[in-house]
C-alpha cells in the first residue's frame, strides 16, 4: 500500500504592534492614524452611552462591542464606499467605522426599524447567528457574476461557526468565486460557551481550508494588524478569491445587557484582556510614535458630546405610526392586509373606546 500526504494546510497569524518591524508599517498618513483612534473612541462612547440608556429603560436590550473596536473599525477602514457590509448584531462599531448616522444607530437600538432605513450598502443587522453569512456569500457571488470589482465584508462570530449556514456559506463562496470576506470576530465566548467548547479546531481560520478558500488569523485587538489583513483580503476578494479572517479578540462586556458574565468567567481573565484593550494599545502606539496630541486628548469629551447629542435626538423621535406596522410587509399592501390595517386604525385611532 501507499500512504502519501495529499493535502497540507497552515494558518498564519498577523500582528503588527509590539513586533520588531512595527515601524515598517507606515502605510497610513499621520492624520489617518488619528482618525482611526477618534472612531474607536466614538464607538467606545456609544457603547457606554447605550449601556446607560438601557439601565434607564430607554433601550430594551443592548449588545455591547467593548473590546472589539479595533477589529470593527480596522476592517471597515479599508473598505471602499462601493463595498458592501453584512453585519451581525454586535457591529455598532463597524457601523460607526462606515460613517453611519449616530442618531439612527440609537434609534434602531431603541426598537425603531426606521433607524435601518437608507443605510446605503450596509445591510440591516441580522440577529440569528450565522444565517447572514449566506447573504455575504450571495452578494459576493452577484459581484462576480456582474464582473464588478468591489467586495462584501460579512461579520460573524465564533459561536456562529458551529451553524450549518456558516459552512454552507464558505462552500458556496469557494465554488462560485464570491467577492466575499467572512470576518469572524472570535471574542472567545458565545454567550456563556467558551470557544474551546464550541469547536475542537485550534483556530477558526483553519475552517476555511476545508472549503478551498484562504483563512488567516489576526490579532483583533491590534488595529494595524486588522488593517493589514483587511487590505490583503480585500485585494483577493475583489478578484474572486474569498477569504476568512479570524479576528482574535475578546468581549470585555456581557453578551447583552440581559447577561451576567460573572457566572461563567472569572475576573482574572477579564483583567488580562483589559490590559490588551485595543484603545489603550493604540493610544500607546500613537504616543510611542509621536502622533499623540492635545486634540486627541480632548477628543474624549468631544466624542461624549456627539454621542449625547445623537442619543438625545433619537429619544425625541416619535414612535412610528400604526400604519407602519402594515406598510412594509409587501411592496404594495395586499387587500387582506389593507383591510386589517383599516380595522386597527379605526380601533386605535378612531376615537372610540
Amino acid at each position: 500500500m501507499s500512504r502519501e500526504t495529499i493535502y497540507k494546510g497552515e494558518i498564519k497569524r498577523i500582528e503588527v504592534m509590539d513586533t520588531e518591524d512595527e515601524d515598517d508599517f507606515p502605510w497610513l498618513e499621520e492624520e489617518e492614524y488619528r482618525e482611526l483612534y477618534r472612531k474607536m473612541v466614538l464607538a467606545r462612547k456609544f457603547d457606554e452611552k447605550a449601556f446607560t440608556l438601557q439601565r434607564r429603560g430607554e433601550i430594551s436590550t443592548y449588545a455591547p462591542h467593548k473590546g472589539q473596536e479595533a477589529a470593527q473599525v480596522g476592517i471597515t477602514f479599508v473598505m471602499n464606499d462601493d463595498d458592501w457590509m453584512v453585519p451581525s448584531f454586535r457591529e455598532t462599531a463597524a457601523f460607526i467605522g462606515r460613517g453611519a448616522d449616530l442618531t439612527k444607530l440609537f434609534q434602531r437600538w431603541m426598537g425603531d426599524a426606521r433607524g435601518q432605513k437608507d443605510s446605503g450598502k450596509n445591510l440591516p443587522v441580522a440577529i440569528p447567528v450565522a444565517t447572514q453569512n449566506l447573504h455575504t456569500a450571495g452578494i459576493g457571488m452577484a459581484m462576480e457574476k456582474k464582473e464588478d470589482d468591489n467586495a462584501v465584508v460579512g461579520f460573524t462570530g465564533d459561536g456562529s461557526t458551529s451553524e450549518g449556514d456558516f459552512h454552507e456559506a464558505l462552500n458556496f463562496a469557494g465554488v462560485f468565486n464570491a467577492h466575499s470576506i467572512f470576518f469572524v470576530q472570535n471574542n472567545q465566548y458565545a454567550i456563556s460557551l467558551p470557544v474551546e467548547r464550541q469547536t475542537n479546531s485550534k483556530t477558526i481560520a483553519q475552517k476555511a481550508l476545508a472549503y478551498g478558500i484562504e483563512g488567516i488569523q489576526v490579532d483583533g485587538n491590534d488595529i494595524l494588524a486588522v488593517i493589514k489583513a483587511g487590505e490583503e483580503a480585500l485585494e483577493k476578494a475583489r478578484n474572486g478569491n474569498p477569504v476568512l479572517i479570524e479576528a482574535h479578540t475578546y468581549r470585555l462586556q456581557d453578551h447583552t445587557t440581559s447577561d451576567d458574565s460573572t457566572r461563567y468567567r472569572d475576573e482574572e481573565e477579564v483583567k488580562e484582556w483589559q490590559e490588551k484593550d485595543p484603545l489603550k494599545r493604540f493610544r500607546e502606539y500613537l504616543q510611542d510614535h509621536d502622533m499623540w496630541d492635545k486634540d486627541l486628548e480632548q477628543f474624549e469629551d468631544e466624542a461624549e458630546e456627539m454621542i449625547n447629542e445623537a442619543a438625545e435626538k433619537a429619544m425625541e423621535i416619535d414612535d412610528p405610526e400604526l400604519e407602519d406596522l402594515f406598510d412594509y410587509v409587501y411592496k404594495n399592501n395586499p387587500e387582506l392586509l389593507e383591510e386589517e390595517k383599516q380595522k386597527y386604525i379605526e380601533l386605535y385611532k378612531g376615537g372610540g373606546n
Partner: protein
C-alpha cells in the same frame, strides 16, 4: 404544453426578457433538473445564468437572498418541497422580512420553486404539501398553480414580483394533461379562479387536487361551484366569500394533513364573513393527521373520489 413544460417556458421567456433573471439549484444545469423543468435552458443562456449549485437548500435560498439584494432576480429550485424545510429559516426569517427590517431600502425579488405533493409512489420525504407553513410566513406570496396556463402566467408574475414568492408545483400532474397556453394572458397574484359555476355548494381546492375537485363536481347530481384558490396567500377571499354567500355550503379539499392545514383558515374565514349564509358547517377533505406514509399506504393517505363524494353528500344533506 403540460405543466412542467409551462415552467420551462415561463423561465425561458423571463430570462430572455430580463438579464437579471438567473436560475440555480440542485442539478438544474446540464441535467435540466430531476423533473427536467429547466431542460435545455443552460444551452440557451449559458452557465453564468443557469447552473447547478452545491447540494444545500439553506445555502441555495440564502445566497439567492444575497443575489437579490445585489440586483438579480433569482429563481431557485428546491428539488422536492419536503427538503425545502432546510431553507425554511432563510425564506421565512430573511427573504420575507428584509423589506420590513429596512423600511423598503432593501427588497428580495426571489422566486423559490418546489415540486410538491404525493400520489407518485415516491420515496419518503418526496410527497409533502407544505403550503400552510409558507402561508403562515408573513411577507411571502404562496402560489400553487393547477393548469399549464396558470403555471406559465403565474410563474412569470412571480419572477417579476418585487416580493419573494414560494411557487409550489403539482408534480403529480406535471405531465398529466396538455393545454394551449396563451403567453399574453395575464394572471394576477392574489386572484383565485372559478373553474365551474354552480349554486348548490362550493368546493375550494388547489394544485394537484384540482382534477379531483373538477371531476367530482362534474359527476355530481348537484350544481357544484369549483374554486381554484391558486394563490394561497395573500388569499383572494372575495371570490371565496362571494361564492359561499351564493351556495351556502363549502367544502375545502387539500392534500396536506387536516389540523392547521390551510383548509382551517378557509373555514374560519367563511365563518367570519359568511356565517349567516351557511346551510351547513364548512367541511374538509384532507390528508389524515399523519406524516405522508411510505408509498404502500399512500392510496389511503391521498384524498380520493370516495372521500370527496361522501363528504359532499354529507354537506348537501346537512
Amino acid at each position: 404544453m403540460n405543466i412542467v413544460e409551462a415552467v420551462n417556458e415561463a423561465l425561458k421567456d423571463e430570462m430572455k426578457e430580463d438579464k437579471n433573471v438567473i436560475a440555480y439549484g440542485e442539478d438544474v444545469g446540464e441535467d435540466g433538473g430531476v423533473f427536467r423543468a429547466t431542460k435545455d435552458l443552460q444551452e440557451e443562456f449559458g452557465q453564468d445564468r443557469i447552473f447547478s449549485s452545491p447540494l444545500a437548500e439553506s445555502g441555495i435560498a440564502g445566497t439567492a437572498i444575497g443575489m437579490s439584494l445585489y440586483g438579480f432576480r433569482p429563481v431557485v429550485e428546491m428539488q422536492f418541497s419536503g427538503f425545502s424545510y432546510l431553507a425554511f429559516y432563510q425564506i421565512k426569517e430573511h427573504a420575507s422580512r428584509m423589506r420590513m427590517r429596512s423600511r423598503d431600502s432593501f427588497e428580495v425579488p426571489l422566486t423559490v420553486r418546489a415540486p410538491y405533493g404525493g400520489g407518485i409512489s415516491a420515496l419518503e420525504h418526496h410527497s409533502e404539501s407544505p403550503e400552510a407553513f409558507y402561508a403562515h410566513s408573513q411577507g411571502l406570496h404562496v402560489v400553487v398553480p393547477s393548469t399549464p396556463q396558470d403555471t406559465y402566467s403565474l410563474l412569470r408574475k412571480s419572477i417579476q414580483s418585487d416580493d419573494p414568492v414560494v411557487f409550489l408545483e403539482p408534480k403529480k400532474t406535471y405531465r398529466a394533461f396538455k393545454e394551449e397556453v396563451d403567453k399574453d394572458k395575464e394572471v394576477e397574484l392574489e386572484k383565485a379562479a372559478v373553474r365551474k359555476e354552480g349554486t348548490d355548494a362550493t368546493i375550494i381546492s388547489w394544485g394537484a387536487m384540482m382534477p379531483l375537485a373538477n371531476k367530482v363536481a362534474e359527476e355530481s347530481n348537484a350544481d357544484i361551484e369549483v374554486i381554484d384558490l391558486r394563490t394561497i396567500y395573500p388569499t383572494d377571499w372575495e371570490t371565496v366569500i362571494d361564492s359561499v354567500q351564493k351556495t351556502g355550503r363549502a367544502l375545502v379539499l387539500h392534500e396536506a394533513p387536516k389540523t392547521a392545514g390551510f383548509g382551517a383558515e378557509v373555514a374560519t374565514k367563511i365563518n367570519e364573513e359568511a356565517i349567516l349564509h351557511l346551510e351547513a358547517p364548512v367541511m374538509r377533505v384532507t390528508g389524515p393527521d399523519v406524516p405522508v406514509p411510505l408509498y404502500t399506504l399512500e392510496d389511503y393517505y391521498m384524498p380520493d373520489k370516495k372521500r370527496v363524494n361522501n363528504k359532499l353528500e354529507e354537506l348537501l344533506e346537512f
